[in-house]
Amino acid sequence: MTQSYYGQPVLKEPTWTWEIPCYFFTGGLSGASSVLSMSAKLFGNEKLSRTALYIGAAADAVSPVLLISDLGRPERFHHMLRVFKVTSPMNVGSWILLVNGGASNTAAVLELLGILKPIKLLAEFVAALFGPPLATYTGVLVADTAIPVWHNARQELPWIFGASAAASAGAAASMFLDPSEAGPARRLAVAGVVAEGALMQTMELRLGEVGEVYRQGAASKFSWAAKALAGGGAALLATRGRRSRGAAALGGAMVCAGELCLRWAVYKAGFQSARDPKYTVKPQRERANREGSKASTLPA
Amino acid sequence: MGSNMAENHPVGFQWVLEARERGAKVIHIDPRFTRTSAMATKWVGIRAGSDIAFLGGVVNYILQNDLWFEEYVKHYTNAPVIIGEEYLDTEDADGLFSGWDPEKSKYEPTSWSYEGMETHGSAGERETKGHQSHGGHGGGLSHGEPPSEDPDLTHPRCVFQLLKKHYQRYTPEFVSETCGVSVEDFLFVCESLTQNSGRERTSAFVYSVGWTQHTVGVQYIRTAAIIQQLLGNMGRPGGGIVALRGHASIQGSTDIPTLYDTLPGYLPMPHAEDYGGFENFVQSNIAPTGWWGKFRNYWVSLMVAYFGPHASEDNDWLFHKLPRIDEDNSAYWTLEQMLNGKVKGYILAGENPAVGNANAKAHRNGFAKLDWLVVRDLVEIESASWWYDSPEIESGELRTEEIPTEVFFLPASAHTEKDGSFTNTQRLLQWHWKATEPKDDARSDLWFYFHLGKRIKSKLAGSEEKRDELVQLLQWDYPTHSALLEPSAETILKEIGGYETQSGKALGGYKELKDDGSTACGCWIYAGVYKDGVNQAARKKPHWEQNYVAPEWAWAWPDNRRILYNRASADPAGDPWSERKKLMFWNGQKWDGIDTIDFDETKPPDYVPPDDAEGPDAIKGDHPFIMQADGRSWLFVPQGISDGPFPTHYEPHESPFDNTLYSQRANPARQQHKDAPWDPYNPIEGEPGEELFPYVMTTYRLTEHHTAGGMSRSVPYLAELQPAMFCEVSPELAAEAGLEHGGWATIYTTRSAIEARVLVTRRMKPQTVHGRVTHTVGLPYHWGQRLLTSGDSANDLMHAALDPNVHIMETKAATCGIRPGRRPRGKALIEFVESLRAQTAKTRPEPEESRKT
């Protein structure tokens, strides 16, 4: 029987609000889009490259606004850049976002204006280089807490977020292209959705009792919404989306909505995991009984 | 016992924990398992109101098992004294002592006197109705030795045998049945106490209002005094009976402003009777033996302090002009007068009767009959705001526009805003200095009374009225300082401590007081607090730089004596009882040791007083209890206590149980307000409506709040710690009454009904008393209608039956009913209470016969 103090939580729930799961989405979208854009350029698909570039830059522009809005003292956002601190994923991520966002928006502006091509290429390259870190570091960010459902999923989360980012980037690009140009994007979206789904299943299985929050409350609702929307959207992309512009747009939007829901599911799961003390206490108590705990010094 | 020290004296309690750490057994005997119990080595859950049964059982255990400290008892107590043959014990008269006058509802104590002696009280034939006598003033003993004694303690009428007889039925089984404790627990206490007393070890009792707030309150303490005398624990280090007072300086407030019938230092206020002159007055108060023998010196010095040169031998120190007390003028008596419209005005200083006094509702109604009321306090307490915000306003019983009373609220300074002293439970005066100026109109008490006095004097300066003469003669020229014209607190302390009128030199102690006008002293027991011109109360030498008595930290009255009666820490020959418990001892020339000896410093242990000796000289060298006429501690109290020479188990005024020892159920001498419509009583066993109030009710304090709440419910940091009025009930009571943990309950008596949140806890235990299970409802009494955290007042439920010696209410044990849900509001509240009363006997029939009181 897990003991607690009047059933009260041991941990504190995160202070983050709606902007954060939305940022997970936009950050992932822009991170993967940078790579998609560069890859498209390398394979000679200029339309896809440009679409992904603009999508990535837009997402990169929205991201900091979301993050700053969530801060308790938004006017002090620049304090994030006072230091470079490897033990703080949020600090590292702020730098990554700065570089990727700066690069992608520079490239987008230069593309629009059609000038300074070498600089634009450099910017695109930098954005693509920082894209994958941008898309995956947020997994480390949530895992680097005491929240059991996040910390215990530290192996899967960067991969899940990466896959989700890939799906979002592919799906978003598919919305704005003729299907004949969008093949790689569609494939990326479908592969991303499949990978993300498989990885989520793996994670929940490995989490055991701690993972049950994904089957309860808001986390469960978002989780199902994610499966339905992303799954349905991927199916649509893979079938009618290959011929119909409309179906591609719808399918792409559904995948994006689904992946946004996926981020919300993970976000909400963290709150639920903090709220019930058993998730914190039980595994620790079992470990302490099994291996002996140094946290408690018993009399000799 | 009768104390929740950890919660109400947390700072002092650290020393109890210190003792516990060194292996002391800390036993907590209390109806509730409190934060003190949590720290104790043992908790014994006793039924509220049954302590004398328990303690009497301990006395019986000691006597039956011969565990009393023989040498101590024989020499230091009045155990050998033979009592007159008219004396009848409660064992003889079924719960009454001899001398009971049912007409007057009081005892005539002549039959209690020592054989061959008159009691002092009869000299001067003074009416003792309501009079607070401070026992030990006399007994008219010659040589300080009682005429009749049996040193072998075998005479059937010697105190020792009478004691044995009185408690012989207080067996462990009786204790168990009456108190709801197991025989095992009771014997544990007895064994612990007796094993830890004697030459090598001492035990201490600690009590507070859990003992005093009963209709037999004084007798509770008396029983402990008997135990401590039998075990030889009085006047010894680690022994004694420690009275924990309830406020930082309530000891000081009884020492100096005192009570309605005493003057500073517990000198008696003269009564409105013809003593036959000043000398007779002195004689009726003087004790021929003991330190009260110097009564004249204390009296005269006080008069000189008040009136300066206006008081002289020629005018008997203005004795004839002094105001006189007519009878009882205690708080509840005054309340009754208020309700009858006989009190014009009232000044409340730092007190909140609208919340803090028993039958608080009656107090609020009483205020509404005054012409004027002055309230001095830190915040606008309920006693200042009742006229627009109170349960009576809510119910319509009082209407603001119809209340004639003019209420003046005058803000008072906090202790940080003035110089002054606190006198604590150890009789220690500790000085403090002002840290900051008071805000706005807030003023200190010294400022208020000084300037009030000045204005009154000025208004009466030209008066020809006889009654104004004394005011005109009052010496009132204290120096002031600061822009506020604050009177000098240290000057006043110096006057309290006494000085020579000619030279102004501060006195060293009360032994230097004279009766010829050459000394002035505001309070004889405080004499010497300014010894050598130094504010002794302001000394701050830390305890780690001194021995454990720490005489250089502050100053204790009298004479900086830390342990009273410490001559008793040495045996009759003057040697310590043991090396381990050494405190004071005779070194061949004088009494020596780390404390101030509470004895004549040069009187040898083998001193025998000559026939014509008087005052302290009439006390033998081996009789340590020098404030008593015979120099001995009193197991049996021949005079001075109005309800019996021995404590007797009586049930509380309101109780679910009958008295199984005697037909006399409760204290016959207790003060009741017969047929007073404002103080109805819950029915007892056999009376109609008894099933309405089946539970024991007890009130108490919490650490987080202070008494009636003015000082704590107004502070956000304290208000949030205990933010709501609540009751504590056992899971069994909750189940029986349908109460929900965290929900609401209504608690009711024939006085009123209140509501409280419910805290269900195993710390309240059902008790099996006289074969049936009884429950207790616990109520903190801090809440009132105002301030940051507000709620109903527990005292609205309480009756105002009182202890006859000191007029203290019985707020620790009464009866009540309880039901789930919030209470009726407005008119519905009155109707509800009326419906309860209708089911009980309307008026109290004459006592004794029908009520088995």
Binding site: Q3, S4, Y5, Q8, V10, L11, K12, P14, T15, A32, L71, G72, R73, H79, M80, R82, K85, T87, P89, P132, T136, G139, D144, T145, A146, I147, H151, P158, W159, G162, A169, G183, P184, G192, R242, T280, V281, R285, K294, A295, S296, P299 | P10, F13, Q14, F33, R35, S37, A38, K42, E184, E704, A719, L721, Q722, P723, G742, R757, L759, R762
Partner: protein
């Protein structure tokens, strides 16, 4: 354990002081809450609001931005000592506080450098730097830190949208009092020396002796919590003597600083990032359509 050494008092050079901390001995706590009040008074912390929680005598609830000392009350039907005999009731009382961990997750994850290690070895939030990102809040394995939602006296004008204080607040171990040569407000106010302040190694020694004494006297459940430098947070600067399992008091039984796993998390992330990149490139290998 974490390879990231965070006991940063070494960084102070000449200003370095020996490490100071708290030993809270709950066996002598009388539940008076003087610590709660003294802390609030000294640090000018706003009152939290009044709510009757019906959790024994605990109406404070938990540590947070407005509560830096919280006294817990637990009523149990268990005797205090093994040989107690009849009643078998005990009432545990404990003054909880920020643990000032040796390996402090809050300090590790703080992105602005607001949280820092003082020359006394304590962990303090610099209120002029904290921008209220809230990362430290879920990082703390004890649930100590919290964002303050109450209005700040110096809050910016409303049009900037910031009416709340928005920063994270916690126990500073009275950093200002230490600099003045005083002990913290709570230990100063504690009447029974339940809260003891001093050099950490001295406190640990004293605690060991205390534990041995309680064992000798037969106290049930006596244990030191977070005393051991080899535990999951490297031992605490503020450690405890408890009379039951930590979770009974609302404390985690075997907390590990999250940063301990961070190195492998970065490596894992790098791999995922690489695979992501490869995967994106790979989606071009099947043609344009």
């Amino acid at each position: 354990m974490s390879v990231l050494e965070t006991s940063g008092i070494d960084a102070w050079g000449d200003e370095k002081h020996e490490r100071m901390g708290f030993f809270t001995d709950t066996s002598v706590c009388i539940g008076c809450k003087a610590c709660e009040v003294a802390c609030k008074e000294w640090n000018l912390i706003p009152a939290d609001g009044q709510e009757f929680l019906s959790r024994s005598y605990d109406n404070t609830g938990e540590l947070g931005s407005e509560t830096w000392r919280h006294v817990a009350f637990i009523e149990q039907e268990k005797p205090l000592r093994a040989d107690d005999g009849s009643v078998g009731l005990r009432w545990l009382m404990e003054s909880d506080v920020c643990k000032h961990c040796t390996h402090a997750a809050c300090l590790d994850v703080c992105p602005t450098g607001s949280l820092f290690r003082t020359e006394y070895g304590t962990v303090v939030v610099q209120q002029d730097i904290c921008n209220g990102c809230g990362y430290c809040v879920p990082a703390c394995p004890f649930g100590v830190l919290e964002k303050r939602h109450m209005p700040a006296p110096e809050a910016l004008p409303a049009f900037l949208g910031n009416k709340e204080d928005g920063r994270v607040w916690k126990c500073t171990l009275c950093y200002d009092r230490l600099k003045g040569g005083h002990e913290p407000a709570c230990s100063h106010a504690c009447p029974t020396k339940s809260i003891q302040f001093g050099p950490l190694d001295e406190l640990r020694e004293r605690a060991d002796q205390r534990l041995a004494k309680l064992k000798h006297e037969g106290w049930n459940g006596a244990q030191l919590y977070l005393r051991d430098p080899d535990d999951g947070i490297g031992g605490a600067g503020a450690f405890f003597l408890l009379l039951d399992e930590p979770e009974v008091y609302g404390l985690p039984p075997d907390p590990v600083v999250t940063t301990a796993d961070l190195p492998e998390m970065w490596v894992n992330m790098a791999t995922a990032a690489a695979v992501l990149a490869v995967g994106i490139v790979g989606s071009f290998l099947f043609g344009r359509e």
